[in-house]
């Protein structure tokens, strides 16, 4: 990628050692980006970045950058690389860059790391997030901190707090000396029972435990089990017995590692990796508590951190019922501002319409795949806004988009105030906030809006959004939620409250919305919307013409269009088309749902022209008539414009009149390649919250249900943004965005194609 040279800022090297959490290198993720657009993006970005750097960090920084440019030939080892390196030199190199306070708070380490990452603007955010979690919380979580003990040296992983348990005093002494030389903080214990008490009394005072296997008072494995259960610390076993069976026993008991005596100092040096790895894995587990595939995650490494942080934030503030239970550590997430894991959450940022507009425009500018919180933050340039805020907002937004694609559900009437948590859709999962259904239902989000937004986000001109083609069989019962294109143009005028407040989009968005609106409208009205849509589209085209950012939406679920189609029409089919979505990256499933008739043939769904935006929305769990949901599943839209994106949004595509009730639950897996993170499966939860509405903001008007389509737009919106999220769409009944969500579901019935359409305004 040229960017590397052009920008001359160091990119993280792909991790070569698989010691710790292995994040896929963002740069190696396959993204069907067009080179030129990418270049353009980067150019823009670099300029911006450099300018920003000067601003923010002063001329010094700029100088440094210039110097780096000059020294392009030199190999820059990114701090994280250094950190992961096993080379002592590297570690000390790394350590030099990190000033660490005397209280050896890992969180402060992470802060520094994050700052460094920000400065280097690498794709380390996710890694950092997790590091924060891993290191920032592990030491300080669980209560009392063990400050007041010996001040530890300043270099990570120095100061790692190790508890050694061995009945052999000779070994104990040797280990102690070795660990001290590794700059760890050592506590020794010759009795397992004493060690256990020590661990219990001083929870949070140790990072890792080294234990001998054979001990008189307690079997080492028993200790291992107890420690794992009670304190969840990594435990490393040691023994003179190096037989395979013994090692196997250790592993089966859950030991992080098994060292064979005599132990060498080198072996002890790297035990910190177990601490970090454990934390990271824990984070990952929590992230994926939903139904999403792990595939998604792996494929979208770069989003992970954001996801994690967003999740955490979301969990804190927004998730209500469905929220995955996380332990305090993760909720507290060791993000920058949060050294103390149990500290109070940061004050919530109210995402006003304007703010959201800025956000969306920033996202558009960056491109879905490049829209990482840090950059968005920079582009937005809002004082007082933190990266975490952006990250969580982005997450929701993505979820919302995802939801959108799968929406079209039953809407019950979109609550006007999306402030209220959307509880209705327990199954919203990650998309919780985006209760597209709800939105759709309430007609808060005009399809055009959704589509437009979607298109916008996707950077695709809202070409032939397949949705457009959907016949307007959308029942009219749809409350007029559909916002006309005009509305959209006007900046998403009367969106229903719960609508995507976020839809204060930039012009692009407007176009997007408009488009989606078009689609939805078409769908909703059961009229051939094409002309209108097209026209609207044209109107919006310009707006929506975004440099192509190819978004790969990969169907994460296989939608069963055919079934749905029938049901779609009938409106009775069980919605759960995609209950089991398999993350299918490349399959574009055409949701015939969108087609007015239940023929959710993929063709019907339409080809979203816009490049290759494939949104596969898997609609899961649409409670209602399934048809919709199914349709929502995948619309394949092949944008003509860029051709690089295929939006598959069956749901959207079909303008099936359906009862979109199914939509709601449909999980649209819009796998946009925001960052080639596809496979976002919308969790089974009805896509309630279309609205990627800022929390508390009253976007309502935006997604005002002027037309039946509006809900759809919401869907789109959510979907679009959601797709890249790649993360599982958690079903959170109520996230901010979802708050208005409920809308979709009840309306779904009538929405049908609309909802779907909106999702894929592509």
């Amino acid at each position: 990628m040229q960017i590397e040279q052009a920008a001359s800022f160091p990119y993280r090297k792909p991790p070569t050692e698989s010691t710790s959490a292995h994040f896929p290198d963002k740069n190696t993720v396959t993204e069907p980006l067009r080179d030129d657009s990418r270049e353009k993006f980067y150019e823009r970005y670099i300029q911006k970045r450099e300018g920003k750097l000067r601003e923010e960090w002063g001329s010094k920084r700029a100088e440094k950058e210039a110097k780096m440019k000059a020294n392009e030939g030199q190999i820059f080892r990114h701090p994280i690389d250094l950190l992961q390196s096993e080379d002592e030199e590297d570690l000390s190199e790394f350590a030099k860059q990190i000033p660490i306070g005397h209280d050896r708070n890992y969180a402060s380490i992470i802060q520094t790391m994050e700052k460094m990452i920000m400065e280097n603007d690498l794709y380390m955010e996710d890694l950092l997030e997790l590091s924060l979690e891993a290191l920032g919380t592990s030491t300080t979580g669980n209560g009392s901190s063990c400050k007041g003990e010996v001040v530890v040296p300043d270099q990570f992983p120095a100061g790692l707090r190790v508890l050694v348990v061995d009945d052999d005093i000779t070994c104990l002494k040797i280990l102690e000396q070795m660990l001290r030389r590794c700059m760890y903080h050592v506590t020794t214990c010759s009795q397992a029972t004493v060690a256990l008490n020590l661990l219990r009394e001083k929870k949070g005072c140790f990072d890792v435990v080294l234990s001998d296997v054979h001990m008189p008072d307690m079997d080492g494995f028993r200790l291992l089990e107890l420690v794992g259960l009670e304190m969840d610390l990594p435990v490393i076993m040691m023994s003179a017995d190096g037989s395979t069976s013994a090692v196997m026993r250790g592993i089966s008991h859950g030991a992080c590692d098994y060292l064979i005596k005599p132990i060498r100092e080198e072996e002890l040096k790297n035990i910190w990796q177990h601490v970090v790895r454990k934390k990271w894995n824990e984070n990952k587990e929590h992230e994926h508590s939903g139904s999403l595939d792990d595939n998604d995650r792996h494929k979208r490494g770069s989003d992970d951190a954001e996801y994690a942080s967003s999740i955490n934030e979301g969990a804190e503030g927004f998730l209500k019922t469905q929220k995955k239970r996380r332990d305090a550590k993760e909720e507290d997430d060791g993000e920058l501002e949060n050294d103390d894991p149990s500290a109070a959450k940061k004050p919530r940022v109210v995402w006003s319409v304007e703010l959201h507009q800025q956000f969306v425009s920033a996202v558009n500018q960056l491109g879905i795949d490049k829209a990482v919180p840090k950059r968005i933050l920079e582009l937005m340039n809002v004082p007082g806004l933190t990266r975490e805020n952006v990250a969580s907002h982005l997450q929701k937004f993505r979820l919302y988009l995802k939801r959108l694609s799968g929406v079209a559900q039953q809407q019950g009437g979109i609550p006007t105030s999306y402030c209220g948590p959307v509880e209705q859709n327990a199954k919203l999962g990650s998309l919780g906030r985006f209760d597209i259904q709800a939105l759709a239902a309430s007609g808060q989000i005009p399809p055009q809006t959704l589509a437009a937004l979607h298109a916008e986000l996707l950077g695709r001109p809202t070409g032939n959004l397949p949705l457009m083609r959907c016949p307007s069989n959308i029942s009219k019962q749809f409350p007029q939620t559909v916002i006309t294109a005009e509305d959209v143009h006007s900046g998403l005028g009367a969106w229903p409250s719960n609508a995507l407040s976020a839809v204060g989009p930039s012009s692009n968005l407007g176009g997007l919305v408009a488009q989606s609106g078009n689609i939805l409208t078409g769908m909703l009205h059961h009229q051939p919307q094409q002309p209108r849509q097209q026209q609207q589209q044209k109107q919006k085209q310009s707006m929506l013409q975004e440099p192509s950012r190819s978004i790969n939406v990969q169907p994460s679920c296989l939608v069963v269009p055919s079934q749905s189609s029938a049901s779609f029409l009938a409106g009775k089919s069980p919605a759960a088309v995609n209950q089991n979505c398999s993350f299918n990256r490349s399959s574009a499933i055409d949701y015939s749902l969108l087609s007015p008739q239940s023929n959710n043939s993929s063709s019907g769904v339409g080809q979203l022209s816009n490049g290759n935006l494939k949104m596969t929305s898997v609609l899961n769990g649409y409670a209602g008539p399934a048809s919709i949901s199914q349709s929502v599943s995948s619309c394949s839209m092949n944008a003509d414009n860029g051709g690089d994106r295929q939006l598959q949004n069956s749901a959207l595509a079909s303008s099936a009149p359906r009862q979109l009730p199914g939509l709601a639950p449909n999980m649209c897996n819009i796998q946009g390649s925001y960052s080639t993170k596809s496979g976002q499966v919308l969790d089974q939860g009805p896509l309630r919250n279309l609205g990627f509405v800022g929390k508390g903001t009253s976007i309502p008007s935006r997604f005002a249900v002027d037309e039946p389509e509006s809900p759809m737009s919401n869907l789109n919106y959510g979907k679009i943004y959601g797709e890249n999220y790649g993360s599982k769409v958690k079903q959170e009944p109520s996230m901010d965005f979802i708050e208005n969500a409920k809308v979709g579901i009840p309306i779904l019935q009538n929405l049908s194609p609309n909802d779907l359409m909106s999702v894929f305004s592509e």
Partner: protein
Amino acid sequence: MDVVSQLQRQFVDHTTSLYREKGFLDDQFTQLQKLQDDSNPEFVVEVVSLFFEDSQKLLNNLASALQQQIVDYKQVDAHVHQFKGSSSSIGAQRVKNVCVGFRNCCEEKNLDGCVRFLQLLEHEYTLVKSKLETLFGLEQKILAAGGSVPMMA
């Protein structure tokens, strides 16, 4: 200086014999020596002393265990295992090797074998103990004479 270099030579010879010729000590002992630093100048001596204490206890336990009417081989094995661990940590190679054989006898519940191994163990232990004591003595003499202890690669 003559005295010192003489002592040093003795030291080197002794060490060489310990390591290479007789295999009393292995690389782990070198590791121990490397662990010794200014913050812990007597580290090796301390550790080895601990080892001596520990080993003595273990040997006593072993002897009494084997003298029981009904020998608890598991217990015996546990002791030997421990001995193996500590001796390997010190780098007392031969002792460790004896322990390995000893454990086999325990598994087979071979009393005779165990008794013999215990004797062998005691013998080896005594040997390495005296060797190490000599080594330390030489070190101290060198230091007392103002010289520096040669580092053994």
